[in-house]
């Protein structure tokens, strides 16, 4: 083999090996969640599935609290997207368009919040929400999730508006648009795909968040909160189905936002 061919083989070999490492748990959880309930404790298990059945999944979906918790998760995520984009888009736009005093300071604040362990703060927040009558309320969960997602939204929207040419907006203004009109009719439509990516990542943050959702609720559980609170008591099949349910959206969502991945964690 020539060194070049060997080189290629080495690169693709390692790339495939690492991809298998990432994908194998998905395969195993999918096989586990679609194993018939009665055969979950079979041993040793064949690596290729021998029996396919939806009854473990059905058991999960029909279990008490699961459907409401999925609805709660969706509601919280949608509210988080609404709050987060409303607060974060203007900030991202300001970072992209203006050079003002305190710009660097604000960027440091954004990066610091990105790293900050906000979930831990749900403990004092729970006490406050209790006093405000917001305990066990989805709004409280959505507010905390918004704080978690906000730095990411600001970074992604900031990157998006940098990519939308400033000249277009100025041209619209010389043609008689107001500043607001130029933003609304020119910058915003061009930024829509990026804003959608920000919305999807916000959804991911909220859909996945466990700590705050469990601390801030008692009966009005989101899906992760329900699964976590039941870890000690629920049967293995329930956990597997729940795991599959929580993990699968990742495959689609990361695909949808693959072009914006660098904006999320890339800017330090």
């Amino acid at each position: 083999m020539s060194p070049r061919v060997l080189d290629r083989a080495l690169i693709y070999g390692s790339a495939i090996l690492l991809a298998v490492w990432v994908l194998i748990p998905f395969y195993i959880i999918a096989v586990s969640a679609f194993t018939p309930q009665a055969r979950i404790f079979d041993f040793p298990k064949p690596l290729l599935p021998t029996a396919f059945s939806t009854d473990t999944m059905q058991f999960f979906v029909e279990a008490r609290g699961v459907v409401p918790s999925v609805i709660n998760s969706l509601l919280v995520a949608l509210a988080t997207i609404a709050f987060g984009l409303t607060l974060g888009t203007p900030a991202g736009y300001a970072l992209a368009r203006f050079h003002f005093r305190g710009r660097e300071a604000f960027q440091v604040i954004v990066l610091a919040t990105k790293m900050f362990p906000i979930a831990i703060l749900s403990i004092p927040l729970a006490v406050t929400f209790l006093q405000l009558g917001l305990y066990d309320n989805l709004l409280a969960v959505a507010l905390v999730h918004t704080a978690m997602a906000l730095p990411f939204i600001i970074l992604v929207t900031g990157g998006v508006f940098v990519a939308v040419s400033h000249e277009l907006e100025e041209a619209a203004q010389t043609l008689g648009c107001t500043r607001w009109g130029a933003f609304l009719r020119v910058a915003l439509p061009l930024a829509l795909p990026g804003l959608a990516a920000a919305a999807i990542f916000t959804f991911v943050i909220s859909w996945n968040e466990v700590f705050a959702a469990t601390i801030l609720t008692l009966r009005t559980r989101t899906l992760p909160a329900l699964v976590l609170a039941g870890l000690g008591t629920s049967p293995l099949g329930f956990k597997f189905a729940g795991g599959l349910f929580m993990a699968m959206p990742a495959i689609v969502f990361i695909f949808l936002i693959r072009r914006y991945l660098m904006n999320l964690w890339g800017s330090r």
Binding site: R8, I11, Y12, S14, L18, A19, L23, P25, I28, I29, I40, F43, K45, L47, L87, P90, A94, F100, I109, L111, M115, F116, P117, I118, I120, L121, I123, P124, L125, A126, V127, T128, T146, A147, L150, I154, V204, W207, N208, E209, V210, F211, T214, I215, P224, L228, A229, L236, K239, G243, M246, A247, I251, I254, F255, R258, L264, G266, S267, R268
Partner: protein, 286 residues
């Protein structure tokens, strides 16, 4: 011409975010501190911190949290570095592989714990594979409280699997900042790929490695759902104790004491990394 409104516009656009973050971060931080030092009968006390420190699980939680941190963070850095260097060689199809490697980014620690539970549970896929290969005669109980190395490895693998993606993105972004000429220059002087990586790429990647270290250390301090999913209550960790004291034992003061401890550790870790690794402000802002 810049009008007055134009001058104030950026501040008006930032204000909602700043107010919101202040309301949901700064105020609760102060409240956590107060909760942790406020006595039930009024006045201040260190009683909650003393109770926390004398709790049976406290020293275990400390040990486990630090142990996991020391095992997980370096493993993730190495794994992510391998992925990042591969992707950065821009072979045909690297975009597809980047997508695959990034998928765990959208997975919670809880879901990751459950995914690996299917692998490590007594009648799970690891034991099945080992038995089929004839390595073992009967399943090994990896996740028993008596098998600390087993539990630890399961948690370390699950958490490394999940959160390597974050490190990967930070490192790739760092690699993209390195001019291509540097690689070509190294090649021109006959450097092998290994030497090029060690002498050219790694030093230039230092700022990214530093921020990856800080972020991952802070997140590793919060590790909890993956531990609950794999080990239940057999393996106390600091964030898990905060959760248990609030949700199960209904003691917000002790939970707040743990929260304050975690916030303090986060601050210490950040300052130590910034000092020891000499991260300059200019690099943070880039």
């Amino acid at each position: 011409m810049r009008t007055r409104t134009e001058q104030f516009l950026p501040f008006a656009l930032l204000l909602p975010s700043i107010l919101f973050l202040g309301l949901l971060i700064v105020i609760p931080m102060i409240q956590a501190l107060f909760l942790a030092i406020l006595a039930d009968e009024g006045g201040f006390t260190l009683e909650h911190f003393q109770r926390m420190a004398s709790d049976v699980n406290f020293s275990d939680a400390w040990r486990n949290t630090l142990l996991l941190l020391l095992l997980i963070v370096p493993l993730q850095i190495v794994l992510a570095l391998a992925m990042a260097l591969l992707i950065n060689s821009r072979f045909r199809g690297h975009g597809f592989f980047l997508y695959i490697y990034a998928i765990p980014l959208a997975i919670s620690d809880l879901a990751a714990g459950i995914l690996w539970l299917a692998v490590f549970t007594e009648r799970g896929y690891l034991n099945s594979a080992l038995q089929s290969a004839g390595v073992i005669q009967q399943p090994i109980i990896f996740l028993s409280f008596e098998n600390v190395p087993g539990i630890l490895s399961a948690i370390v693998i699950a958490e490394s699997w999940r959160a390597t993606a974050i490190v990967l993105l930070i490192l790739i972004a760092g690699l993209q900042l390195i001019p291509r000429d540097f690689f070509e220059a190294a090649d021109l002087f006959g450097a092998t790929r290994f030497r090029r990586t060690v002498h050219v790429v790694l030093p230039l990647l230092r700022p990214s490695l530093q921020s990856a270290l800080i972020i991952r250390t802070i997140f590793a301090l919060q590790t909890f759902a993956v531990v609950f999913a794999l080990a239940g209550r057999n393996m106390p960790v600091l964030a898990g104790e905060a959760y248990t004291w609030y949700a199960a034992n209904r003691n917000e003061h002790l939970a707040a004491a743990y929260a304050v401890l975690l916030l303090a550790l986060t601050a210490v870790a950040t300052v130590v990394y910034l000092r020891v690794l000499g991260l300059r402000e200019a690099e943070v802002q880039r």
